[in-house]
């Protein structure tokens, strides 16, 4: 990897938002491939950040500043990228299920998945089944639907949502991921989701594996 791209990666990992923009510019000036700057300098760097988070080496704030630094870098890079290369991993719809109003966990997941190179469509909280299906129909190239529920009382709502998706005619085109405090792998299996992850960083890894 070019030392200039390595520099970008280091700054993203450290969350140096102010320095990332100029570093990206420097890499571009040296003739580095913009896609390589994005993949090698940012997406891979965020994967390392996520890994460290999973291992308890760093915590949420470090992850937040790294994601913010990446965002600054992408702003500089975007005009140089061909259309679609920022969300090259594919489209992903994320929502907190109907009846549940919590968005913090879901937001962190969205952030990490976006940092992994997905184009994220965030439908927000208390999202009814119909709205998710409608969104998919408007974006038929969606690869993953990601659902969050924070309390045991909204687990049935998650079950209903997944059941509705499982009955849809587009089920074979998508993967379903679930998560949230009361959710377990067993529950995910039971309701027929394709994957479960217990934190935001693992969710990003899982999303990548599901579209492989």
């Amino acid at each position: 990897m070019s030392p200039k791209i390595q520099e970008v990666a280091d700054l993203v990992a450290k969350g140096k938002a102010k320095l990332v923009g100029p570093a990206v510019q420097a890499a571009l000036d040296e003739g580095c491939d913009p896609t390589e700057i994005l993949n090698g300098g940012m997406i891979d760097a965020m994967a390392v950040v996520g890994e460290k988070f999973k291992n308890n080496e760093i915590f949420v704030p470090e992850m937040l500043v790294a994601a913010r630094a990446m965002k600054k870098g992408v702003e500089v890079l975007k005009p140089h990228l061909s259309a679609g290369s920022t969300g090259a991993m594919g489209k992903l719809i994320i929502a907190t299920v109907a009846g549940d109003l919590h968005d913090i966990g879901k937001n962190l997941v969205a952030m990490m998945i976006e940092s992994a190179g997905f184009e994220v469509i965030d439908l927000g909280v208390d999202v009814p089944i119909e709205k998710i299906i409608e969104c998919y129909k408007a974006n038929p190239d969606t690869k993953i639907i990601c659902l969050s529920a924070l309390l045991t009382t909204t687990m049935p709502s998650m079950r209903d949502t997944v059941a509705a998706l499982n009955e849809s005619d587009f089920r074979s085109n998508i993967k379903i991921m679930v998560g949230g405090a009361p959710i377990t792998q067993e529950f995910a299996d039971e309701i027929g989701a394709d994957g479960y992850s217990e934190d935001a960083a693992s969710a990003a890894t899982l999303a990548k594996n599901l579209v492989k």
């Binding site: 969350g15 915590f59 949420v60 704030p61 549940d100 109003l101 919590h102 937001n107």
Partner: protein
């Protein structure tokens, strides 16, 4: 509802510490400064958006709320508190823009404000309780304590929409989310006020805000009763250990060994899967539980049923007589210490006489974290490093104080302290990380000779002495063995000798003044009574001698007390007798008659059968062949035959008491060594003593280290074959 009180005068407190705690933002994090700046920037705008309000009201428990915690019609106080909708909108704006950092910060700030409202609500609750002469016995929250339907009940009873402008979803969630609800159970006892938030029952153990209200555990131990306060969500075992109430847990609190059983006298303790494994239904009904698995959630009273360890026999001396010549006036004193995994031994040494003048022994209370070094290493790596260090420091202080008091000398008269101990014991005392000790390639932090001021090692200034930790050879061949080698003259003796420590780690060495080869073998704790169904330490009532005649065992116990179990020497004697009388065949299989239930040795005072089982035989086979194969490999690598070995030293408390003949019967030691075996007792302590009294000690220890090589049995081509071969009984 009889009366509702609305509280609007809140201070909008947003403590930065709380917010950072919520986000897990630590002061040593490189992002701390940036987070701090962002926080300061957001503080005023967030305060503007906050609209803290609360309602409290008296009511009775409606039908839909009845559960094991709440009775129908019971008097309760409902509490609803919110910080309003605006602040949630404010954070959402940032999330929508993709500024996750600000979004998360605002969200946490809203939480912090909501939590802080608790104090002001508490004041109001105290006021209304005083007015009515009532108290609060518990605070219940959904979903941890009571069903989520409680949120709906509180909302209806307090008219949440009208009073606070909030709404509730069909799944009983409030909008805005930054709203909290509690149900307080009231009582006529006006002196109780337990309205504080209690995380004890919450399953979110990783939560950064975890705050647990203390509970009291009353412990009855024989005629003594004492109380300990548990401030965390923890097992009875952990709570007791933390507060110095010693408790032996051979397996390290994994629910395997069953040695930490207690009996619940009042209060509640859930029956765990480990309890079901260890106790019969009758015993469970009587309240028997394992302390290492029991998480109390409220005040309880238990009785301890642990063995009496007061009579634990510990090997202090190493054969030499401890005689004091009163005509000698000592110019000062040193202290020699052996830190064993199970026991600690101390000797006070006169500087003029160069002789031990007082001794003391005690159990290593670190046993509460597990019987063997591996479980201690695990405990240390699981965040109990500081507790383990404190435990050994306290034990050492106990011994040091006892010696000083016994001889009625001044602490200032103590000059040096020399310590022999295995590598793990050294690491735990020094507060070194044990991360490297438990995993390949087993790298220690420092096993060189350590000389430090007393305060640095023991953490106090009771003595102004130098503490010396004797050096080791590797993670597995530690300072205790080097000390033992020194004690057995491996540095000077021209004839070849073998030293075997029959402890858990089975350290051994062969050599002379030219060269030394050391190794360690996974003997396990079987020789010390560990992993044996009825095994135990050398305590009062432990069976130590066994004779079998006509299919019946005649036993003697330590202190001639009623039998309670089997100590290490008893284990070997039983095994040897079973072989002699052919109750086991050469493969180690017990006769059909005893195969299922084991061979009965004696009955306890309560009439329970003390047996030696098939599994116990297997444990002995594994242990003895590990030691024997280790001895054989050492001889081969050193290039000598049995007859070229001049002396065989058996070290350790167990080695001292072992019946040599029986150890040969079971094949632990080759018959060819008959007549050459010397029990040297605690040679680690002996070496430490000699270190303090001999002039060239440092150089000689250095010489031993220089000439020592270690072999790794797991990599040795012959070891496995020998291990299989010696598994059998000849």
């Amino acid at each position: 509802m009889e009366q509702k009180i609305k509280i609007t005068k809140f201070q909008k407190k947003i403590a930065r510490e709380t917010v950072f705690q919520l986000l897990n933002c630590k002061e040593d994090s490189p992002t701390y400064q940036q987070m701090k700046e962002e926080f300061e920037e957001l503080l005023e705008p967030v305060k503007e958006k906050l609209a803290p309000e609360a309602v409290i009201g008296f009511g009775k428990v409606p039908e839909e709320l009845v559960c094991d915690k709440l009775k129908l019609g019971e008097d309760v106080i409902y509490v609803l508190a919110t910080v309003g909708k605006e602040v949630s909108r404010f954070s959402s704006e940032f999330f929508d823009e993709g500024d996750f950092l600000k979004g998360m910060l605002i969200d946490a700030m809203a939480d912090a404000c909501l939590f802080a409202m608790d104090d002001e609500i508490e004041d109001e609750l105290k006021r209304v309780c005083a007015q009515r002469h009532i108290g609060i016995v518990s605070r219940l929250e959904a979903p941890e304590d009571i069903p989520m339907a409680a949120q709906k009940a509180a909302f209806d009873q307090l008219e949440g929409e009208k009073n606070l402008g909030i709404s509730i979803s069909p799944s009983y969630m409030y909008d805005p989310v930054k709203t909290s609800c509690q149900v307080m159970r009231v009582s006529e006892d006006a002196t109780v006020f337990k309205a504080q938030h209690n995380c004890r029952k919450c399953k979110a153990k990783g939560c950064t805000m975890r705050n647990i209200q203390p509970i009291t555990i009353t412990v009855q131990n024989k005629d003594k009763t004492f109380q300990i306060v548990s401030k965390e969500y923890e097992t009875i075992l952990d709570a007791m250990n933390k507060q110095g109430a010693y408790f032996s847990a051979v397996c390290g609190g994994k629910g395997n060994c069953g040695k930490c059983k207690v009996r619940l006298l009042s209060g509640e303790l859930e029956i765990t899967p480990a309890d079901k494994k260890h106790f019969t239904q009758e015993e469970l009904d009587k309240g028997y539980r394992l302390a290492c698995r029991a998480y109390p959630t409220d005040d309880i009273t238990i009785s301890m049923t642990t063995q009496d360890e007061s009579g634990f026999s510990i090997q202090v001396g190493h054969g030499t007589q401890e005689e004091e010549d009163s005509r000698i006036t000592e110019s000062g004193y040193d202290i020699a210490i052996d830190i064993g995994t199970t026991t600690l031994a101390f000797q006070l040494v006169g500087k003029t006489s160069k002789k031990p003048v007082a001794s003391f022994a005690t159990l290593n209370r670190q046993r509460a974290f597990g019987a063997d070094v591996i479980s201690r290493i695990q405990a240390s790596c699981d965040g109990k490093k500081a507790e383990l260090q404190k435990s050994i420091q306290e034990d050492l202080m106990t011994g040091i104080r006892a010696l000083i008091q016994e001889k009625e000398i001044e602490p200032s008269q103590i000059d040096r302290i020399a310590i022999g101990g295995n590598t793990t014991m050294g690491h735990l005392l020094m507060g070194f990380s044990c991360e490297g000790l438990g995993v390949y390639p087993f790298t220690p932090v420092d096993i060189g000779l350590i000389e430090r001021p007393f305060q640095e090692v023991l953490g106090n200034t009771y003595l102004d002495a130098t503490v010396i930790l004797l050096p080791g050879i590797s993670t597995y061949v530690g300072g205790d063995i080097v000390s033992g080698l020194y004690d057995c003259d491996f540095g000077t003796n021209e004839k070849t000798a073998l030293l075997v420590d029959l402890g858990t780690n089975g350290e051994m060495a062969i050599g002379n003044c030219q060269r030394i080869i050391t190794t360690s073998t996974a003997a396990g704790p079987a020789f010390e009574g560990g992993n044996i169904s009825w095994g135990m330490g050398s305590v009062q009532g432990a069976i130590c001698n066994v004779k079998i005649e006509d299919g019946k065992a005649n036993v003697t116990t330590i202190g001639d007390k009623p039998p309670v179990g089997l100590c290490g020497t008893g284990v070997i004697e039983t095994m040897a007798e079973l072989i002699d009388h052919e109750y086991v065949d050469e493969t180690g299989r017990l006769e059909d008659e005893y195969f299922e239930e084991g061979f009965e040795l004696a009955k306890t005072a309560e009439g329970k059968k003390i047996t030696f089982t098939q599994q116990d035989v297997r444990e002995i086979q594994l242990a003895k062949s590990a030691v024997r194969a280790g001895i054989e490999v050492l001889l081969r690598r050193f290039g000598v035959t049995y007859d070229q070995v001049d002396a065989v030293y058996l070290a350790g408390g167990f080695g001292y008491h072992i019946n040599q003949e029986k150890s040969m019967v079971i094949g632990l030691i080759p018959h060819e060594f008959d007549g050459k075996i010397k029990a040297v007792g605690n040679s680690s302590l002996g070496g430490a003593l000699r270190y303090l009294t001999e002039e060239n000690a440092k150089e000689e220890i250095h010489r031993i280290l220089e000439r020592s090589a270690e072999i790794d049995l797991s990599q040795d081509a012959d070891f496995n074959d020998l291990y299989m071969e010696h598994m059998f009984f000849e």
